[in-house]
């Protein structure tokens, strides 16, 4: 192994960079949870927040949560991938710096410019606010997303270069030579490298599509006479958005492969089913996005069929490879439970269970009566709030404590409160969606208030538990170790 293929050095600046990510990640996550809870409370009519401010909160919550999920997921990937390849600390910090510039622009767009176009910036809404916000507010929001996207793109390109230097090609790093080869599988290829390669491939393409549509949006904002095809823009936006948010989960899953075996003493090696599932996921995550467009009947029929069928297939690698693999790994292993492991296994449950109502929503016949009802935030909060967030928290806690964690009553209380209140929160959304309650309504009709009020109570409990968990993580941050 030469100098270019050695693991990354554990320098003080690398440790500081990781600590910065964790500290900023926890702070932004909690702030965005507050924004989300306030939006839910507005729906419940228990706050005096006016609708216009509520939609600003909704926009902030969406953009902030997607951004911080990406940053925290990247931190987990960087933390483990750098053990196998040489990653640049400088580029890791450049991503953080550009993201913070983007965040400031987005905050200014919303806080000063009153932008409330939703995080999905669905064309041409940013440019057509009916006078509520101006072009500079829309431009700052979209421009902020461009800065964040460029930061992520540089990070993923650094990861791609490092992987190529070590493994020669993305084909080999994904293990495809072994998947399609006839000999025994070489288990020296780490699952972390396979997962990271998949994330690099999909997110580079996703962010490039995002860059194209963001620039087109900027043009439409500042040169209103230039218009684009609304269906094309919708396809680009949902391809970018779907890939980016899914990649956050696949980055967090790296923590499962690295951490769970340390508790059980059972290695998590690659196998042909493992490689096949990651190869399939690489294609599926990029090709499945038309399931967001099932109610656009002008889409080609094959695209609608693709959306439904791939949506169904996407559950197989999640449920039968990663979740099932983790259960087999921990079964009767004699492990000792602690907070990081509890969070990781609970996060896997949230992910595995949450994809089920999502897959059901991907059936056209269901989508025609449930699309854009609260069924949608029901399933995505399930696999993000109860899946991604515990996976990230568990992995980051582990990075800061290793096996030195001493469990307290506060840990157990916070974990169970987060889990039980979180499940209640998500099921209230699902139940509301089942009864047709629309999503993204700041003002709810009287018939829908009960759901919103129970949801608000659950949101407050989740927030309190998350604060307790976040403070525990921050308190341990000085002990973080990269080795």
């Amino acid at each position: 192994m030469n100098a270019t293929t050695a693991p990354s050095a554990d320098t003080p600046s690398a440790k500081l960079a990781f600590q910065l990510y964790v500290a900023i990640g926890v702070a932004v996550l909690l702030l965005m949870m507050i924004a989300g809870a306030l939006f839910r409370a507005t729906q419940a009519a228990v706050t005096p927040i006016p609708a216009n401010f509520a939609y600003e909160l909704m926009t902030l919550h969406g953009a902030g949560m997607v951004g911080v999920s990406g940053l925290a997921g990247a931190a987990v990937m960087w933390y483990f991938l750098r053990r196998y390849v040489t990653l640049s600390t400088g580029m890791f910090l450049v991503m953080l710096g550009l993201s913070l510039v983007g965040v400031v622009m987005i905050l200014a767009a919303i806080g000063i410019g009153r932008f409330a176009g939703g995080w999905t910036f669905l064309y041409p809404l940013p440019a057509k606010s009916m006078g509520v916000w101006g072009p500079h507010a829309a431009g700052a929001f979209v421009g902020g997303l461009v800065f964040i996207g460029v930061g992520f793109l540089l990070f993923y390109l650094d990861c791609a270069i490092a992987i190529l230097r070590r493994y020669g090609s993305l084909w080999k790093a994904l293990g495809l030579d072994q998947l399609f080869g006839s000999g025994p599988v070489d288990t020296s290829l780490p699952p972390t490298v396979v997962a990271s390669t998949m994330v690099v491939i999909i997110n580079v393409l996703g962010i490039l599509a995002g860059a194209v549509v963001l620039v087109m949006s900027l043009i439409s904002i500042y040169v209103p006479t230039v218009t684009f095809d609304a269906l094309l823009m919708k396809n680009l936006i949902f391809f970018f958005g779907h890939v980016f948010i899914n990649a956050t989960i696949y980055m967090a899953v790296i923590g499962v492969y690295e951490i769970v075996p340390r508790y059980t003493g059972r290695p998590w090696n690659i196998s042909r089913p493992f490689l096949a599932s990651w190869a399939a996921v690489t294609l599926i995550v990029m090709a499945v996005y038309p399931h967001h467009l099932l109610m656009d009947f002008v889409m080609p029929k094959w695209a609608i069929v693709t959306g439904q069928v791939l949506s169904y297939l996407s559950g197989i690698p999640i449920l039968l490879v990663t979740a099932y693999g983790a259960l087999v790994n921990i079964h009767r292993s004699g492990l000792k439970w602690d907070l990081p492991l509890r969070l990781i296994i609970f996060g896997l449950f949230g992910w595995a269970a949450g994809v089920l109502p999502a897959i059901i929503d991907g059936v056209v016949r269901v989508n025609v009566v449930m699309h854009n009802t609260q069924w949608v935030p029901g399933h995505f909060h399930f696999y993000l709030m109860l899946g991604l967030v515990p996976l990230l928290m568990g992995s980051l806690l582990y990075a800061c404590t290793r096996s030195e964690w001493s469990e307290t009553a506060l840990d157990r209380g916070a974990f169970w409160t987060f889990g039980v209140a979180g499940i209640l929160f998500c099921f209230v959304f699902l139940s509301a969606g089942y009864q047709g309650v629309p999503r993204r309504f700041a003002v709810h009709d009287a018939a829908w208030l009960g759901h919103a009020q129970i949801g608000t109570l659950a949101a407050v409990l989740v927030l309190l538990a998350a604060v307790a968990l976040g403070v525990r993580l921050l308190a341990r941050l000085p002990r973080a170790s990269l080795s």
């Binding site: 609708a51 409330a116 669905l122 064309y123 041409p124 809404l125 057509k128 606010s129 009916m130 509520v132 609304a230 269906l231 089913p273 467009l293 109610m295 656009d296 009947f297 080609p300 609608i304 069929v305 439904q308 069928v309 169904y312 449920l319 039968l320 087999v328 921990i330 079964h331 009767r332 292993s333 004699g334 000792k336 439970w337 296994i345 896997l348 449950f349 595995a352 269970a353 089920l356 929503d361 056209v364 016949r365 269901v366 025609v368 009566v369 699309h371 854009n372 009802t373 699902l430 139940s431 009864q435 047709g436 629309p438 999503r439 993204r440 309504f441 700041a442 003002v443 709810h444 018939a447």
Partner: protein, 174 residues
């Protein structure tokens, strides 16, 4: 359809929860033969995999063979009446808002400014059908109202600050 989606979700999520609880409850106990369990688990997984694939084929054909969106990419039944539904920030324009129960109604759904979601509600708790309303495109949605009454039209695609107030009513007579 909503009942089926809800019940199926509860059952499947319950199975996943039960599996996680069962394994987690026994994880701190020792005694498992890791190699033997892995082999047994792989056998189970292979079986479940093919079951899931077979179910997927059945579900795909069962739900898509008879194309679920009337008028989309296939010849539609001739409607008894056609209503042009146009979304604007923040109101709906319907060129006709009264139909008779039992009639096959075709909505030609479009928008003049931004994306909207044309959703027909019964009693605020039941979505009858929906389609996206998009500038530059017309989505055709066929609905046969079986029960007389007032059906409310809501916007299900976020379209700006008065999104929640974008309503209309379709009166279905006997």
């Amino acid at each position: 359809m909503q009942n089926l989606a809800w019940a199926l979700s509860l059952v499947l999520m319950g199975i996943v929860a039960a599996l996680f609880l069962w394994v987690a409850a026994g994880a701190s106990r020792t005694g498992g033969d890791a190699t033997g369990m892995a082999a047994s688990a792989q056998g189970w997984r292979n079986g479940v995999f093919w079951l899931v694939i077979l179910a997927g084929v059945a579900i795909s054909f069962g739900t898509l063979w008879d194309w679920p969106i009337a008028g989309h990419a296939t010849a539609a039944a001739k409607p008894d009446t056609v209503i042009r539904a146009t979304g604007h920030q923040w109101r709906w324009t319907l060129d006709k808002d009264t139909v008779k129960a039992g009639q096959l109604v075709e909505f030609e759904v479009t928008a003049t400014d931004v994306n909207h979601g044309f959703a027909i509600y019964k009693d605020k708790s039941h979505v009858v059908a929906q389609a996206q309303a998009m500038p530059g495109y017309v989505n055709k949605l066929q609905v046969r109202f079986t029960e007389p009454g007032d059906y409310e039209v809501l916007c299900l695609e976020y379209c700006g600050l008065a999104h929640h107030g974008m309503r209309a009513v379709i009166k279905v007579g006997k």
